[in-house]
Amino acid sequence: MSERETVLKISHLNKRYQDEGNPSGNILEDFNLEVKRNEFLCILGPSGCGKTTLLRCIAGFEEFEGEVSIEGKAKTEPDTDRIMVFQDFNQLFPWKTVEKNIQYPLKQQGVQDKQTLQRITAEYLEKVNLPGIEKKYPHQLSGGMKQRVAIAKALALKPKIILMDEPFAALDAMTRNRLQAELISISADEDCTFIFITHNIQEAIVLGSRVILMSKNGKIKIEEQNTIARPVTPASEGYARMWTRLHDALEE
């Protein structure tokens, strides 16, 4: 398992925001992380500890000091090898149908054949359990459906990494559980690495193949492989202990 290649390597990452010449302190300080191919990394941490900031640096939306490299190549700009799924439901382009939202990035990548585009669209909508909604506009979908389409859109691009910033946080518990289950089976099928931020300990344990817990300045307080047998439920052997460990560390 540990022989897998490294997809993402972050070394000596420092990040501070420059607001009107009034620089903040270091939000992330000498942050280091390696993520292996096909890992599902969940990141927990108290509000304001820099989780979103970290993800935005990885995505290339922020300037930073240090190095973020994908398969050995340093990256500073956004690109299709790392696709972000935002927490905000309104991340799809409202002026495009679901189908066009999924196909537009593919066309930008040079996929022009109509049948191929349609096949890919249908395939990924099927994966997120939303077959047949190609012609709908985003405003006609529920929040959960929008997030599923955003995931389908990201998957269809076959990125190396999908970055998810609390994508399910604003959903009700039932929808959330269903989307978690879908994401588990998707991540098992796809050759893709996931970095998933959440506030929810249960979510981190259920989804993550590895869980890290950040504290102030992006210090990594806990980092552990999730060895609980899948599928993980609260009744699983080891779940309660892991939950307590993470919970206590978060409370401190």
Partner: protein
């Protein structure tokens, strides 16, 4: 149930109002309340109606009424296209260059306050009494409100769309056409409405101030009718002007909105 009742209420009260105004008009006209001037100020409705029909069905002698309309609409369209085209080019450049943005912002703020007609003396010196003057005035009345709207719209584009666009590899002009412009649709449409209203008013005013022999338009026609004391014709033409406005509103703007911002759930 309630909504259809409300609709009926609004339609009935509006019809009642129009009928009442018509009746008052006719009474004043028939009683010649304004003495000898009465036929000029309040020509009887039948005279206006007759003039309207004569104009529309081209029954009168001389240049057809439609020629005036055609001339006006042609210049209007040319001016609109130039004005709208330039506002996209300049606002696009403003998004690409910060310096250009600051300067253009100032230029828009200044010229937006300047009525086109006030520029007429200078413009006539430049172009002579030619259709180009009208086109210039129309383009002038379109470009500033349009630019202002597009600039406001660009600034209001949600960051998330821009980031989603960058994430899928859009940059420069492709980011502009792929994200900024569609995301600004509702601003563009309200800019179009303001621009059209200003252009239409500007056109009629300019044509009334000076007629261009090569291309006489509706404003020129109104002025001619006034000089010839044919006030029923003049009123008939005012009705046509209002009708054209209604046609543009319901025949052009309403469908544009229906197939864009309304369909996308983006109308403000």
């Amino acid at each position: 149930m309630n909504r259809s009742k409300e609709r009926l209420h609004s339609i009935l009260s509006q019809i009642l109002f129009v009928v009442l105004v018509g009746a008052c008009w006719e009474t004043v006209a028939k009683l010649k309340v304004f003495g000898t001037k009465s036929d000029l100020i309040f020509p009887p409705l039948e005279a206006i109606g007759r003039a309207f029909v004569t104009n529309i069905f081209n029954l009168g002698a001389g240049t057809s009424f439609w020629v005036y309309i055609y001339n006006s609409m042609r210049l209007l369209l040319i001016g609109l296209v130039i004005g709208i085209g330039l506002s996209f080019v300049f606002t696009g450049l403003s998004m690409i260059s910060r310096t250009f943005y600051y300067i253009y912002n100032l230029v828009v703020s200044i010229f937006d306050l300047l009525p086109g007609v006030a520029l007429l003396p200078v413009v006539i010196i430049i172009f002579g009494i030619k259709p180009a003057v009208i086109v210039f005035l129309i383009a002038h009345s379109v470009i500033w409100p349009m630019s202002r709207n597009i600039l406001d719209g660009f600034l209001a584009v949600p960051v998330i769309y821009v980031e989603a666009g960058k994430n899928i590899g859009l940059k420069g002009v492709r980011l502009l056409t792929g994200v900024y412009i569609p995301a600004t649709a509702s601003y563009v449409i309200s800019g179009l409405k303001v621009s059209w209203a200003r252009a239409w008013r500007g056109l009629i005013s300019a044509e009334m101030i000076f007629g261009i022999a090569a291309s006489p338009g509706i404003g020129f026609y109104i002025n001619q009718m006034r000089t010839n004391l044919k006030n029923a014709e003049m009123y008939a033409t005012l009705i046509v002007i209002v009708l054209i406005g209604v046609i543009v509103q319901y025949g052009i703007f309403a469908p544009i909105e229906k197939y864009t911002v309304k369909r996308w759930g983006m109308s403000k």
